[in-house]
Structure formats: C-alpha cells, structure tokens
Symmetry: C2
Subunit: 125 residues, 2 copies
DNA sequence: TTATGTGCAAATCATTTGCAAGATC
DNA sequence: GATCTTGCAAATGATTTGCACATAA
C-alpha cells in the first residue's frame, strides 16, 4: 500500500457516487499528494478494477468512469448529456431471457443508455 | 449518396452480424473502392450512427463496433475474449424496474458483459 | 455551379508503457 | 537489499479534423 494508491482510493471515496473519470480522480488525488502522476493514477485504477475492488464503466463517446461500489447498483447514462444515474440493486429488477446457452451474465458491469429527465428529449448531444 | 458511402454500407452489409470495427469496415470498403480513406469511413459511420441508420456499440477496452440492424436485437460481449453475441428481441425479455422518474431507456444500445461459453471461466483476459 | 463529401496528414484524446529513480517490506 | 511502485515522457490506438481538391446534385 503506497501513499499514491492511498491517495487514489481516498480520491475515489471523496468523489462518492459521481462516477469520476481518471482525470477527475487524478485531480482529487493531487490535492493529497501533489507529486502524483497521471500514469500512476491509471495504473492504480486499472489494477483495482482488474482485481474487482472498484468498477470500470465504459461509456459511449467518453473516457471511462470509475466507481467505488462494486456490488450494489447498476448504471444508466444519458445519451445526450452523459450524466450518469445509479439504480440501487434493491430497486432494479433486471431480467434477460433468451441468452445463448452457457452464457453467464456479469450483471455488475451493466450500463444502459437512456434519455434522462434533464434532457427530456430536447437537447442534442 | 457518394460512392464512398455506398462502399461503407456494402461493407457493413458484407460483414453481416459480425459487429465489425471501423478498421474492418475500412478494409471491406477498400475492396470496392481502393482509394477510400480511413477518415471517410469514420465520417460515414458516425453520420449514419448519429442518424440512427446503424448502431454504434461501445465496448470496454476496445474499438467501437458497428451494426447494421438497429432494431431487432441486443448485444452481449464476453469480458474475456471480446466475442459478441446477439440476442434477438423476440428472445430477450429485458425488464428494468426502479428507474428514476422521467428516464426513458434507449434499450437498443444495451450492451451487457458476460463470460461466454467458449471461455467458460478459464481464460484470463 | 454550389454545396457537400473526400483524401490526406496532422491533431487530439484516452490510455499504456519503458525506464531510471524512489519507496516498501 | 530485493522487489514492487513511481514519475516522467514518449508511445500507442482510436478517432477527429483542417484544408485543398473532387464530386454529386
């Protein structure tokens, strides 16, 4: 556990549920450890995501987002404004029938696109 | 309708349900119109995707894929081997309860990650 | 002919990586 | 001291864009 990794974890924690990009995590981590390098942030984020400690969220037309809570909610992203919303697992009932035999869904990485209420269908991406 | 756009459409058609990347579309289009440029392929794919004529599929850790059939199936992608599978709409019953009020799901862009049968849980990405 | 699209190359953006120096155990 | 991690900068890969020229309507 290095100071840098600690700063990245604290940055993610500070960002809370805001689905920060690596860039945002970098800026937050820099407040704690000004010498930290972008590459270090990417390295730690990737290591933790691969280890399942955090979640990487790949979205259309933008940088990956990261999320500290790996098991308790799903994500939807607005196709127009790129805002992300959480859906608590308790509230989300996601059913997919008709999967090919043998396929195991990794539902934790589910991301859906939507038009969000703030956009309502009027804004143009 | 230019010769180039036609070549891109025919390339997508030739690729069928293989979810080609822009690179693959470029190679197929080049067979018909050898002078075509990568930039032109990207331009046409983006125009068509924005117009809803084709679908852009953003996947974790890889180039975007494109798909000619915008309305009749969903996609799942294997987290390990990046193979993509189609789920016909008729077979897929996707239900999401607990969406924030006012959110309209754009289910056509749904992509789910899974572990596919070919990987079965043994390969490491 | 007049707007629109193309080819090319350079630019951009997100992300990864090689390597020498530094921190951790 | 051996190993793992960092900082930096350069490399990579995907995609976009500026601009002069070509093409379609």
């Amino acid at each position: 556990m290095t100071q840098q990794k600690k700063a990245v974890i604290e940055a993610l924690s500070e960002a809370g549920g805001t689905h920060p990009t690596a860039e945002t995590v970098y800026l937050l981590a820099k407040k704690r450890r000004p010498s930290i390098a972008m590459g270090t942030v990417y390295r730690n984020l990737s290591l933790m995501a691969d280890a399942g400690e955090i979640r990487r969220i790949t979205v259309p037309d933008g940088a990956d987002r990261f999320d500290i809570f790996p098991k308790d909610h799903f994500h939807i992203i607005c196709s127009r404004c790129a805002r992300m919303y959480d859906i608590p697992v308790a509230d989300a009932e996601i059913t997919v029938k008709g999967l090919p035999a043998g396929v195991k869904l990794e539902a934790t990485s589910l991301v859906m696109e939507c038009i969000c209420p703030a956009c309502g269908g009027d804004n143009i991406k």
